[in-house]
Symmetry: D2
Subunit: 414 residues, 4 copies
């Protein structure tokens, strides 16, 4: 049996292919030359499987889609407090302010607007470093996310730098306010190189899936960034990513997203998927026309919406079985607050009547921090109730199961 998901993606592209509204970015020759008919979509699950359709191997410049990834890298390199002292997290109010700097602090409002993205690029690696080092940091980090070595399209860099007055204006103003220290022309050159990294929609989907997967690469399993960094990056994308239509995109589509002027569009649903699309014709806000329509279809047809509460699997314990003097409570899946709450509620409503109780974690994928604390507390309370508490944990997903009084659960024989 072939999975029908690629067929679904084919159908979506076919349904939207004829829409030739909008126009290719024409402010620089290198972008103007793009084939306007390119059309592609890719979707990578947090389990690491990628589905794609259309021109999914065509490379194009990442442009503003580099912003969330560079933000994640800056958070990793400099720490959240320092980064936040230089770039805020508020939606931009772009319409009201040419530069979107905050009153008073003069911080750029968020890392998704150019002022914030230039600042973010400047934060890479550390202070006193050079353009080359920052650019290489971005290229390597993006390559790690994509799972293959990415390269910079120097043709795009050159072309962009000839029309860089807006970014130079921003960078000079940022140095005026002490937000950046380096030569504005060096910073803009580096930022432009970051934006000129070549990607395919498959790269984009994979890179984004890592953020959706809490910073863990869905294929390699490597922790590329810490979970709080992935969460913060997605949060900022959600509130400030599609700035000109923040409210209606959030309401109608519900997928945190970021677009690039070369026609790319990326989106992430935490715990589910990363998505990338390519279609070079842009609307008046500079967002890919057909790319946005693909997202609307994915949201509507596949229930991919941040606020859709169906997204959760069963939270019931896998089984509670009594055998002889022992009650075995088998948990399953990821045990977070909600998962632990269900177990504790079950134990509360029907405390085991046998003298022994075994918590079986054989089918548990992992614990969140709070899930771990809650299950341990439940075990401690069973122990206080006078029960002998055992733990079956072949994969050691619950290390150091201290019952709080210095004792540990017994290890049951299989």
């Amino acid at each position: 049996m072939r999975t029908p998901i690629p067929d679904y993606l084919d159908e979506i592209l076919d349904a939207l292919r004829d829409d030739d509204s909008g126009s290719v970015a024409d402010y620089i020759p290198a972008l103007k030359a793009a084939n306007p008919d390119l059309f592609a979509v890719a979707l990578t699950t947090v389990a690491g499987r990628t589905y794609s359709s259309g021109d999914c191997d065509v490379e194009f410049s990442i442009q503003s889609m580099s912003k969330p990834f560079a933000y994640a890298a800056a958070l990793a390199d400099r720490g959240e407090p320092f980064v936040t002292s230089r770039v805020g997290v508020d939606p931009s109010g772009e319409a009201f302010n040419e530069l979107s700097l905050e009153t008073g602090s003069h911080r750029p409002r968020n890392p998704m607007i150019n002022a914030g993205a230039i600042t973010t690029h400047h934060l890479l690696v550390g202070s006193g470093t050079s353009r080359q080092i920052r650019v290489e940091r971005a290229r390597e980090f993006f390559s790690e996310l994509a799972g293959r070595p990415l390269r910079i399209d120097e043709r795009i860099v050159e072309s962009e730098l000839e029309a860089a007055d807006r970014n130079l204006a921003i960078a000079h103003m940022l140095r005026n306010y002490g937000i950046i220290e380096d030569d504005p022309h060096e910073v803009v050159a580096g930022y432009t190189a970051q934006c000129s990294i070549s990607v395919t929609v498959r790269d984009i989907a994979m890179m984004t899936a890592t953020l959706a997967n809490g910073g863990i690469h869905p294929v390699t399993g490597t922790t590329v960034v810490a979970r709080p960094i992935a969460r913060r990056t997605l949060s900022v994308m959600a509130s400030a990513g599609m700035y000109d239509a923040a409210g209606s995109w959030f309401t109608d589509v519900g997928i945190p997203a970021k677009s690039g002027v070369a026609g790319g569009l990326l989106g992430a649903l935490p715990g589910q998927v990363g998505i990338g699309t390519l279609s070079p014709r842009l609307d008046d806000h500079g967002n890919s026309v057909r790319g946005q329509r693909v997202f609307r279809r994915l949201s509507a047809d596949m229930g991919l919406h941040l606020m859709d509460s169906e997204a959760l699997g069963s939270r019931e314990p896998r089984s509670i079985a009594v055998s002889g003097d022992t009650t075995t409570v088998a948990l399953q899946g990821v045990i977070d607050f909600t998962g632990a709450e269900v177990v504790l509620d079950r134990l509360d409503r029907s405390t085991p009547t046998t003298p022994k109780v075994i918590i079986d974690l054989s089918r548990v994928d992992s614990f969140t921090d709070v899930g771990r604390r809650m299950v341990l507390e439940g075990m401690r309370r069973l122990s206080l109730d006078g029960l002998a508490v055992g733990l079956k944990d072949p994969d050691e997903v619950l290390p150091e199961p201290d019952l709080g009084d210095g004792t540990f659960p017994f290890i049951p024989n299989d």
Copy 2:
């Protein structure tokens, strides 16, 4: 064993109880008289269990926390297109505009600001109706959500109406632009009554949990509003609820929320919980000081953050077992896009080698629309591959399992 969750809530309140910063709303006597030391929290899971701590049975006026619920009711009463023609969904930019009406359309920007909430109240039931009917609609709808009859605190209504100039200004301006048709004084009186409905934190948590549960009441199982309405309401809360600090609340706390001037604060995590707190001392933005701190603690300590990708349980099929000529694929939990994708991928990678395959839905809670379509398509493809496809669905969670060619799966003997 007693579940430790109430103890966790107790601990949070104890840790924050001494914070007496901020001050009780004093613009009307009825609010000024509130006991500033009241402190309570309640949390209702989408499974319908409520945990609470502190002054959780004290009634107070719902105030602006009525806004999301009235919005859901208006969407139900008038349909999304009509409601959206009168109230937008964009974050407000409150700081820039006294009234936050959109340029051109003069629509209020969203239903979470007063202009939008007054318009929303006016939309209840239908055109040409009366204040009494609208108010009763709000009271009954809120009561259904809370699961008990709520009453209006007439003392609050009277006191508010003596200081209603701001809302009257807004209502006159709305009629000036044709957004509302009725007498502005009638509309404001009705809106004020809606805001004066008395609730406890347990009511609030329960009401909110219904939104978090896709519109289905977690205790009664009644569909109070359709899923798209619940989703839209949460989306607007997420982007416009805590307006003055939209970005940082979203980033740091990640729980869509709405506060009331009487000291209440509600929050929802889709698919997980509804939360209500009470603490009457407000900060300069009019939000409960300790209420916000409780939310920060819940987010940080319990991993309750919208962008936290840990929130998902296992998506693996419960089991794939071969017995004689039959492979049985047992699914579990809620089957949405991601759940179905996992099953289809497994079937793709290892198509059953037996002539018969049975899809066992005994442990499936429910299908989303896309999940249903994807699993049916998988079954159809298995059938096209020449396999005999059976369906075990004792609870009829997958009605009308048409294989696409007019045939239906066989019903296996147990």
Copy 3:
């Protein structure tokens, strides 16, 4: 000989008569019914002569042209500090703020916008007064300025009050912020009556000429308001009167002006003229199309521009004559700073060589305060130089001519 000025005015109207662009205000029936072809202009000099052309005896409602006059009356009734505590003097930034209230103080930005004009009306007479008394104050004050009893067009009042939601919104918001104390509906009713006073362009020109003449009625010679009030009123008109195009009106036309929605337009050039026009078709900003063109012609053709430095007559002394032992210095006109400077400079460069000097004020119209002080100081210095100083002042334009040492100038025989 007939003066050609009426012919000039006729020519201007003839040249512009065919312009039928714009449209009559249609938000209330009473205005919609206006004859769109009405066209009139009147011009009153500070010497009290009025020239007019076209439909100069047709009455129409004064509307927003009442704002500067009511502001002058409020300044007279309540004093400048109190009025300024309630209404500012800054250009409005109307585009940015529905209500144009200042951040922080919530004062309306200036008396030329509706919020400021409603507040100004409410300031008339004194606190604790009634609508009737305020309206009668406005009617009597305007009548005094016009030099004839004006009446209120009750038909307009009624019609306006049926469409008063915008003003009611503003008034409620003003009471919300404590800027006004009375019932908003009473205040708006009074303000509406003020705006419904019937005038002709000749009335408007005369009323405005009083402001241009420093508060002194150019026909009756009565001081209707003190000079600083006239000056302040004109200053606010200059900076905030034609709000939507403040800069270009100021630059291109240079006549402080205020328009009314019934098609009136008034303008003042200090020390020169008051102007009124009528043409009911309005542009998108609500300003009379042909009225504005008349002003542009008057400014361009007649050199009537605030910044035109040609506006001054000769400042030389009328004559300096030596006869026997006496030098007679004959001054003329109005002696202000510049006039006095000229005289003092002449006496400095050629101090009289005769033992007696007589200052002849027979041809002096008046002194400003500073002019009086400067000329007296000059006489004192001549006296210190050892000269006998006489003063010829048949009209007593320089009372109490103390030479600073307790002595007074001698009175020459004619």
Copy 4:
């Protein structure tokens, strides 16, 4: 007798000398080093007399006070339409927009803000020119206005260029929008040189007096710029010069003004005076603290307020005398609209009864264009009434006195 005006200026400085509030600009070393106690005032009349007090020969950099003069030069060099296509005339709304560019056109709002001043500097001389040529144009033009060769303080230029990020940001943004074409760094270097021209308060007063005198240098009598350019420059100063407090400065002081960060402040009253002050301590808006207070005193004590209608001398004809068969009407001063109106009115009310009438212009200083046309029209009408009209015009202030029918007035024998 010594004129007391210098003593008045001394008194003002003495009264304000002790005010040491505010602080010297410290963003560059060259300004930080200024002696904060410097205090000077100069006042030049349109007749070319300069009065001064304090440190009136100390040189300091002109800074933003160069803006109006460069604007006048650009209008002269490029014409009003082209200049206006690049720089608007609207008050800035600086508070709302970092750069104060107009929506849509991206023109800077006016030439008094930095974006407008940089654009104005770039407009000097013509397109395709160089920094050196523009700077020399500014230096020469300013020198002509000041009546002495001014020099550029290169120390200031260097110091400013080290802290020029804000202006570089603006210039890059201006090129981004196509408002300027040249290299932003060249333009900013040129603008900085313009701002670094050294002046004294006496220079400033003289330069400004030329604008107040309609573009004619009050000492040399040279027409430095055409009257409409002087008028436009003063208009823009009036509406946009003291931007942060536009309304209240206009109302309270009433002298169009512009300040410089080195502590200078200039002001102009059309037809009267140019004023310059120096006091390096600045308030939070960057305006000289004591400088502003000097202006307030000059306005209040000397009646120097744009809206003060006392400013006019007598407009009556000098004399109307009948002798034999001839009536002689002797005019005086400057004959503008108002001056001509008075004469025509007199002739209208009492048409000469003698067969001959002579218009005597011996004491007339000049005619405005409209004054000339009006007086000629009066003569033509007298001629049509059958009178023999003569003209006595020894200084030829009324050239080509065609009576409209091809005849000319007779020349009377003296």
